[in-house]
């Protein structure tokens, strides 16, 4: 029984991923739905990110006594990435709840609903990437071979978003307070993660950032873009989190996947 539940969970994820044509259409539609009748569409988000970076860049460069141009690029990349992380975590909470209509009408691999929201956020990230490219063009960091690692970093990031989405989606469908708890935690996480500040600013306590999983994802994504050296610790951490995350997710998904339709 346990065994077959595990197989069902794995095949749910696998057939979910292979139903690209379904979640791509749904994800795209969700982006369109939000921005229909607005001229700039998803670029509104890009603009708001740009304004935020433009205002906070000089301010925090001054506060932290950093070189404005370098800090500017650092902040731009970090903020864009953090927005994606934040939105992904938020949307994970409603991945199943918001798909109640579909879940109760037809049999689809449930992971499709998580992939849909993941795809939506990747589309929005692609729009926001304009800010990143602008920042890089301004600062002209010494880009090298390290840039080749960026696609891998994005892939691992997306892969992790999937297991987080499944786990959080389930937890929030069962216990509705989890959504609120997660929102609070993410606000705290923003300040606890080196988004505005740099790990070096902690001085001899710099090691502490290594305890923060968000930092490692930010680092593997950001460093290639800004021509910083490869951070082996972060890559190892991301690898470890990916494996552990999938194991934990599969255990819970095997056990509770069949209950989701009753919870939403």
């Amino acid at each position: 029984m346990q065994r077959s539940n595990f197989n069902l969970a794995v095949s749910d994820i696998a057939s979910g991923i292979s139903s690209f044509h379904i979640w791509a259409a749904l994800g795209w539609q969700e982006v369109m739905q939000r921005y229909r009748r607005s001229v700039l569409g998803p670029f509104w988000l890009t603009i708001s990110t740009a304004i935020m970076v433009g205002l906070m860049g000089p301010l925090y460069a001054k506060l932290f006594q950093q070189d404005v141009l370098t800090y500017f690029a650092y902040l731009a990349v970090n903020l864009v990435l953090w927005q994606t992380i934040f939105q992904l975590v938020q949307d994970s909470c409603t991945a199943f709840i918001a798909s109640e209509g579909y879940i109760k009408q037809m049999r689809l691999p449930l992971s499709i609903h998580v992939l849909r929201m993941l795809w939506k956020n990747l589309i929005i990230l692609a729009h926001n990437f304009v800010v990143v490219i602008l920042a890089i063009a301004l600062m002209r960091p010494p880009l090298g071979l390290h840039l080749l690692l960026f696609p891998l970093a994005v892939f691992l990031f997306a892969a992790n978003a999937l297991w987080v989405g499944v786990l959080l989606g389930m937890a929030c469908a069962r216990f509705r307070d989890v959504t609120l708890m997660v929102t609070n935690l993410m606000t705290v996480a923003f300040f606890a993660t080196p988004v505005l500040w740099k790990p070096q600013m902690l001085g001899r306590h710099e090691w502490a950032v290594n305890l923060n999983p968000f930092y490692h994802f930010l680092e593997t994504l950001r460093a290639p873009l800004l021509g910083d050296p490869v951070n082996v610790v972060s890559w190892a951490a991301v690898g470890g989190i990916t494996v552990t995350g999938y194991l934990v997710m599969l255990v819970f998904y095997s056990r509770f996947r069949a209950r989701i339709a009753y919870w939403v």
């Binding site: 229909r36 009408q105 037809m106 049999r107 069949a258």
Partner: protein, 233 residues
């Protein structure tokens, strides 16, 4: 073929703490049988050890009061609810017509909604495109098909959603009440189309209160009470 063996579907009820509430509901005239499961959670047993075997060619009508388990049984056949006990097996592709407007986007055009709904139903883009012309023609929307659906009258919306849902042929058709849409002229056309769909399907399962529908279409009437089959037809 659809086969169920001792099928049990239970809904956990969260937030029901009070025993007295439980006891009160226990004696309600309609609805499933309430019980507490092992974890002392209150559960509604919506389907209680239901067994049947419906062969290809059967047209099954589900009858019974509100809350007797008709819709739950339809959803179990669609594969939405996994059984708490027993098993259910439906061989063939299932078309769930339980709600034909799921996934509709008011702000998208009719045309975009066809693509979207088609994708949800698992069709590839070229399969959907092959159906588009026919759907547009049947729903009689003309150039409105390129207008956002929020500009449609409710009749137009229903016509389009009906046309999309009935454009795909499947082995098993599930319906919660016979669909009827539109004014007189359209309604007649719609009935023909729905009949053609049902004729092509191997099995129809319909929850219905309409005596006419049951008499004219169905080959078997299954009566449910409190989540149990009391008359298997």
């Amino acid at each position: 073929m659809i086969r169920a063996k001792n099928l049990v579907i239970e809904f956990p009820i969260y937030g029901v703490k009070s025993r007295s509430v439980k006891n009160t509901v226990m004696h309600a005239a309609t609805g499933g049988v309430l019980a507490s499961n092992a974890a002392d959670r209150v559960v509604v047993r919506a389907l209680d050890r239901v067994s049947f075997e419906w062969k290809d060619g059967e047209r099954v009508a589900l009858t019974g009061h509100n809350g007797s388990g008709k819709t739950t049984l339809l959803r179990a056949i669609a594969g939405v609810y996994e059984p708490a006990g027993g098993s259910i097996e439906a061989r063939g592709r299932v078309a769930s017509m339980l709600s034909i407007t799921v996934g509709m986007d008011e702000n998208a055009t009719g045309y975009e909604n066809i693509l979207l709904r088609g994708a949800i139903l698992g069709l590839r883009k070229r399969e959907i495109l092959a159906l588009v012309d026919e759907i547009c023609e049947f729903s009689e929307l003309g150039d409105y098909i390129h207008m956002p659906m929020r500009t449609y009258s409710s009749g137009m919306t229903m016509r389009l959603m009906f046309a999309i849902s009935t454009s795909i042929r499947t082995d098993i058709v599930l319906m919660d009440e016979w669909l009827s849409v539109g004014d007189d002229d359209f309604s007649e056309k719609a009935q023909k189309r729905l009949m053609a769909l049902v004729d092509d399907a191997k099995i129809l399962v319909i929850a219905s209160h309409s005596k006419d529908i049951i008499r004219n279409i169905c080959t078997r009437v299954v009566h449910l009470e409190h989540g149990r089959i009391v008359d298997a037809g």
